[in-house]
């Protein structure tokens, strides 16, 4: 079964440093997403990306965050000048456009646990 791959699985960074979280979505998927889950809380939407541009972003996704699809396979989330409150699990997800006969929903990666110290 196709998978969404995320690297690294765990990253520790110092406050103020920049981090890049990487994702390889499923190859024939067209929509890509980043979600965040602070420890003990629910999973929150950050941003969606389609046709090489952001299609929607949440209030959380401020100027500190950026996303990029630098080539045909990778999808990255960059956090500039990390803060303690950025410590969370970050999930990448992808999907094909909704079609009743082909829609299997969103596929999530295994997550990157980011710890800011």
């Amino acid at each position: 079964e196709p998978e969404v791959t995320q690297t690294p699985s765990h990253q520790v960074t110092q406050m103020g440093q920049e981090v890049i979280l990487r994702c390889v979505p499923i190859s024939n998927h067209l929509y890509f997403y980043w979600y965040r889950q602070i420890l003990g809380q629910k999973v929150e939407f950050l941003v969606s990306f389609y046709n090489n541009e952001i299609s929607e972003k949440s209030e959380i996704f401020d100027d500190q965050f950026s996303v990029e699809r630098p080539d045909g396979s990778n999808f990255t989330l960059k956090i500039r000048s990390t803060k303690l409150e950025d410590s969370a699990m970050y999930f990448c997800a992808s999907r094909v456009p909704g079609q009743p006969t082909r829609d299997y929903g969103y596929t999530f990666g295994s997550g990157t646990r980011l710890t800011v110290v």
Binding site: Y33, Q37, V43, S55, E56, G98, G105, F108, G111
Partner: protein, 109 residues
């Protein structure tokens, strides 16, 4: 935005028991998925079920879209079923999943 409520928030079961988890949502949806978050934090997709009933082994799910709720049934629970169960929905015309607050399940020997 759409509201997603899950109940109960916490559940403790003895191994072998059955349980029902509920997800209520406030608007019509294109997509509804159930996930299991394991102790390592991974989100495991259980069902894509915007309507109807599906079964996979000891798990089954039913979504009644017209009444805006979904149920996840776990039969003959095992300790490996422990973790958090999330319901997530995509509203009609939307293009992102909104997650509920989850049900924390603990299965004891």
């Amino acid at each position: 935005g759409i509201q997603v409520e899950q109940s109960p928030p916490d559940l403790i079961l003895q191994e072998g028991a059955n349980s029902t988890l509920r997800c209520n949502f406030s608007d019509s949806v294109n997509n509804l998925q159930w996930f299991h978050q394991n102790p390592w934090g991974q989100l495991i997709n259980l069902f894509y079920i915007p309507s109807g009933t599906k079964q996979n082994g000891r798990l089954s799910a039913t979504t009644v879209a017209t009444e805006r709720y979904s149920l996840l049934y776990i039969s003959s629970s095992q300790t490996t079923d422990s973790g958090v169960y999330f319901c997530a929905v995509e509203p009609g015309g939307g293009n992102k999943l909104t997650f509920g607050t989850g049900t924390q399940l603990k299965v004891e020997l």
